[in-house]
């Protein structure tokens, strides 16, 4: 109900941003803020009972005979992710310095409407279209507003994701074709009929593998996971801070949603080799990205690696949960792993938005981005340093904050499957903790770097948005039940054992 109307309104209002002239920031802030509240109330109302798995399906037929429809349907997972994505983009617009033109805000708003369309789409054709369309505004945001090397970096970002997404398109084509054979002549692109284990079981082994290969590559590029990650540090570093917030906080949801929103119904038929590869890549990502992060000189790049490392939990939880399911473990175990992975997608967006926002304020007040040129700024800017510290602690998984809940439930859920290999993950978590603390030590505390001169602290508005983020992180860490239960229900409702 109402979803379609809301979405079309959002899309049109986003396009209007390009015409909003000098008031672009105020306008886009108003629109995203209004939609944040609307989504928050709408989905709270819709999913309060915690039992609903899917919302109502609404469809605009495009070419129904061929199965091409524009249809939207929310789920327990996408509802939460839509709210968080809207919030992150609202925050990105909020912290932006306001010197940007209406094109900048228009592109950010387009990114938001594309992302929300992707999360709500119930048709694979439009899932693909939004997946691809989100790239274009982000490409321009990096290419036009980025700092050094922005032209090559934005191209790299685009081409990486584009290759992944076209492979995904081929997978969808194969499914579409086999659905046609299977039903003797009817076409469908809807997620519910194509993402169906029964359909996969009728496909030859090669084509099943082909489909999963394409989807895995697309999602792994976007997460990102080793070895498809090299666009990420460059893009995060080159993009201006508001865009980095969008990238790290909102767009990182896409890969995770690909796994849990699209692939979850068919985990039963994913070949075990693929799942093992997923776990291995996840563990490599965790360790390798954490080690890379440790050796970075720039705070922004370090946090980019931290963001990539955190996504290792998503692949590990998905892979192990799926293997547990195929080996007939208890449903409560693999649902815990799945829900933990989803929770990680959610809190990662929030935490990264907070870290990059506070990094932005640090950079703004000191003019420095390299770790070596900072030091002891807690003395001059205690408020902003505290917020950065909170973000870092949340990111390293301190109990009481949201990140801990996700990591703990993933570890608890996967132990049954991966056994002693869990030590590797613990090891990676140790590295993660150490470089977070080390960075805080070198930048926030210690002797004051006199070269910086007098620095000013964050103002009231920046404290306000960071406080909201902090409260959300702590709320999700202390009362995870509200959302976690929703994810567990979603997992147990969608997974077909």
């Amino acid at each position: 109900m109402l979803m379609m109307e809301l979405y079309i309104a959002l899309f049109l209002l986003s396009v209007v941003t390009f015409l909003s002239g000098k008031n672009a920031k105020v306008y886009s802030l108003a629109v995203s803020g209004a939609f944040l509240l609307i989504f928050l109330f709408y989905f709270s109302y819709r999913y309060w009972g915690l039992s609903a798995v899917h919302g109502t399906l609404q469809t605009i037929p495009i070419s129904p005979a061929y199965g091409f429809n524009f249809s939207l349907q929310s789920s327990g997972l996408s509802a939460v992710l839509v709210v968080i994505a809207t919030f992150v983009i609202f925050a990105a617009i909020f912290v932006s310095s306001g010197n940007y033109s209406q094109v900048f805000y228009g592109l950010i708003m387009l990114t938001m409407s594309g992302l929300i369309g992707l999360l709500l789409s119930a048709n694979l054709l439009f899932f693909y279209i939004f997946w691809e369309v989100v790239l274009v505004p982000v490409y321009f945001l990096i290419g036009l507003y980025g700092n050094r090397r922005s032209d090559t970096v934005s191209l790299k970002f685009f081409v990486y994701t584009h290759i992944g997404s076209v492979l995904m398109l081929l997978s969808f084509f194969s499914l579409y074709t086999y659905y046609f054979y299977e039903t003797n002549g009817s076409f469908s692109m809807s997620i519910s009929s194509l993402m169906n284990p029964a359909l996969f079981e009728t496909m030859p082994v090669f084509w099943r593998g082909f489909v999963f290969f394409g989807l895995f590559v697309a999602f792994l590029v976007k997460l990102p996971s080793f070895p498809l990650h090299s666009w990420l540090p460059d893009s995060y570093e080159t993009a201006p801070y508001p865009v980095t917030i969008v990238l790290a906080g909102a767009l990182s949801i896409m890969g995770g949603y690909g796994f849990f929103g699209i692939l979850l119904p068919v985990v039963k038929v994913i070949p075990q080799g693929f799942l093992l590869a997923l776990i291995v890549l996840g563990i490599i990502s965790l360790i390798y990205f954490s080690l890379s992060a440790m050796s970075q000189l720039s705070m922004k790049r370090m946090m980019a690696y931290a963001s990539a490392a955190a996504m290792g939990f998503v692949t590990i939880s998905f892979g192990s949960g799926a293997i547990e399911l195929q080996n007939s473990f208890s449903p409560s175990l693999y649902n815990l792993a799945f829900a933990g992975g989803m929770y990680q997608v959610l809190v990662h967006g929030l935490i990264m938005a907070m870290i990059f926002s506070s990094l932005y304020y640090v950079t703004k007040s000191t003019g420095k981005e390299m770790i070596g040129s900072l030091g002891g700024i807690f003395r001059g800017a205690p408020v902003i340093s505290s917020f950065l510290l909170v973000g870092l602690l949340a990111s390293l998984g301190l109990p009481g904050m949201a990140g801990f809940v996700a990591e703990f439930s993933v570890l608890a859920g996967i132990y049954g499957e991966i056994g002693m290999w869990i030590l590797l993950i613990i090891f990676a978590m140790l590295i993660t903790a150490s470089y977070h603390i080390w960075m805080a030590q070198r930048t926030l505390f210690g002797p004051y770097n006199e070269v910086l001169g007098n620095i000013h602290d964050a103002g009231a508005s920046s404290s306000a948005i960071l406080t909201v983020m902090m409260l959300a992180i702590i709320f999700l860490g202390v009362f995870p039940h509200s959302v976690f239960e929703l994810f567990t229900n979603y997992a147990s409702g969608v997974v077909i054992p």
């Binding site: 495009i62 070419s63 005979a65 061929y66 091409f68 693909y128 279209i129 691809e132 369309v133 790239l135 274009v136 490409y139 321009f140 290419g143 036009l144 032209d151 934005s154 191209l155 685009f158 081409v159 584009h162 290759i163 076209v166 492979l167 398109l169 081929l170 084509f173 194969s174 579409y176 074709t177 046609f180 084509w207 082909f210």
Partner: protein, 478 residues
């Protein structure tokens, strides 16, 4: 059943040709009395539009005329509309560069278009050949227009390769006659692969391949597109190219129906090298027109994937899938006119003859509408959703997957990803940096771009078009 019309009644089916031909002579006559180029262009446009509208009324009444050498059905009529649209697209932009003796240019345009729409309405090899020659001859002269050193060089290259390819086509046709005993192109599975058939196939692929500019018969196209006037380049790379594509659909998918496996192999190899060569050559190109020319070679590679998919589908005796492949090619042709034609017409925004990528730097500041439209066209060439280019590639790759040529689809898709590099490079240049002094914004330069961009966007969301076009494919086999 298809009706057969004989005698003088047949003339009513040639009204579109008559409209264009008579107007062509009228313009020549008007030129003697000094009509201005704007008047000539307007008359040309009106007659093309009239012909277009009349063609629309001829749909859904398939008919054989003139001893069955002409067949007017939805397949041919669809392509007639495309050719007329390609002509209309360049009529007004041509005013910018065609200064002297414009009546000759515009009447040539009309005569060439007559050749094109005759080609679209015949399935007889002799008629196809003659109309194809008419198109070639017309475009030779159009390329050389103004007789500057650049255009003459472009035209000479075009003429010599064109003449060679023509003779190869004639040779191929004679072998075809030797193998089948007929000049009529109809699918007769009885014709099995014979030696003469194979020779004919190879010769015809080479001959038509020149016109379509597929590797290794492409080199003339790069120099000719670069050297001729912008609107002529646009016409060569859309109208003239699609005539070759349409004839190839008739010749290979229909005429070589019994020999599908051979042309599947040949076209698959050619498609792979053409796409790869075109895209990788465009990567390092800084001359914008040559960049577009290489991209046009790559696009020809995508187009001939249709023959791979269709040939493979015939090989596994699945006519449904074969029809999908052909329909995908027809959709791609439609989109191609607007995206490629529009992109070449964008060269009119620069005042230099040799347009460099950097000549468009800062275009956004001088004319946001032109920059946005050209970006849409380039994104469409790259195949980004919500543009017609996406729709074309979507159905093309879908056709490949449906016949289970997954490896070919993967090659095509990786190529498509490579192409993103050079299209996006141009877009970024337009939006960054200071406006270059070579930018010359005029309403004649910008409006066609906006029209093309709008068409590309409309086609990009019109998925239902596919089922309509699919209904036209049957005409290939009457």
């Amino acid at each position: 059943m298809t009706a057969v019309v004989t005698g003088i009644d047949a003339l009513q089916y040639f009204i579109p040709e008559f409209i264009l031909g008579i107007t062509g002579f009228a313009i020549l006559a008007a030129g003697m009395f000094g009509s201005s180029r704007k008047v000539n262009a307007s008359i040309t446009f009106v007659s093309l539009a009239a012909s277009f509208v009349y063609t629309l009324t001829m749909f859904n009444h398939p008919v054989y005329v003139l001893s069955s050498t002409f067949l007017l059905d939805n397949f041919g009529l669809y392509f007639m509309l495309l050719f007329l649209a390609a002509g209309m697209l360049i009529t007004f932009p041509a005013i910018i560069n065609i200064s002297a003796k414009s009546e000759i240019f515009f009447s040539l345009l009309l005569f060439t278009t007559v050749g094109m729409i005759i080609a679209a309405s015949s399935s007889n090899l002799i008629v196809l050949f003659v109309s194809f020659e008419a198109v070639s001859t017309g475009t030779y002269v159009m390329t050389a227009f103004h007789k500057t050193e650049r255009t003459l060089e472009a035209s000479t290259k075009y003429f010599f390769t064109g003449a060679v390819s023509t003779s190869i086509i004639v040779l191929g046709i004679s072998y075809f006659y030797e193998a089948t005993g007929t000049f009529y192109l109809s699918p007769s599975p009885a014709i099995i692969s014979s030696g003469a058939m194979l020779v004919s196939l190879i010769l015809l692929v080479i001959g038509f391949g020149f016109k379509l500019a597929i590797f290794p018969m492409h080199q003339w196209a790069i120099d000719t597109y670069d050297g001729s006037e912008n609107s002529v380049s646009a016409f060569l790379s859309t109208g003239s190219k699609l005539v070759a594509f349409m004839i190839m659909l008739r010749v290979f998918v229909s005429g070589f129906y019994g020999d599908a496996n051979d042309f599947y192999i040949i076209f698959t190899l050619l498609a792979i090298v053409t796409m790869t060569y075109g895209n990788f050559s465009a990567l390092s190109e800084t001359n914008l027109k040559r960049l577009l020319a290489y991209s046009s070679v790559a696009q020809a590679g995508y187009l001939i994937l249709v023959f791979s998919a269709a040939g493979y589908a015939i090989g596994i005796s699945d006519t449904n899938l074969m029809e999908y492949a052909v329909a995908a090619g027809m959709i791609y042709s439609l989109v191609y006119i607007f995206m490629k034609g529009g992109a070449f017409l964008a060269m009119n925004l620069s005042s230099t003859k040799k347009v460099d990528v950097s000549d468009l730097s800062g275009l956004n500041k001088k004319s946001p509408a032109a920059a946005l439209s050209l970006s849409i066209l380039l994104l469409s060439l790259a195949g980004i959703p919500f543009t017609g280019g996406f729709l074309g590639k979507f159905f093309l790759f879908l056709a490949l997957i449906e016949v289970k040529l997954w490896w070919l689809a993967v090659i095509a898709i990786l190529n498509s990803a490579v192409s993103v590099f050079y299209y996006l490079r141009v877009i970024l240049v337009m939006y960054r940096g200071e406006p270059s002094e070579n930018i010359k914004v005029s309403s004649l330069g910008v409006i066609p771009l906006v029209v093309c961009a709008a068409a590309v966007i409309i086609l990009g969301v019109y998925f239902a078009l596919f089922s309509t076009v699919l209904g036209f494919v049957g005409g290939l086999f009457r």
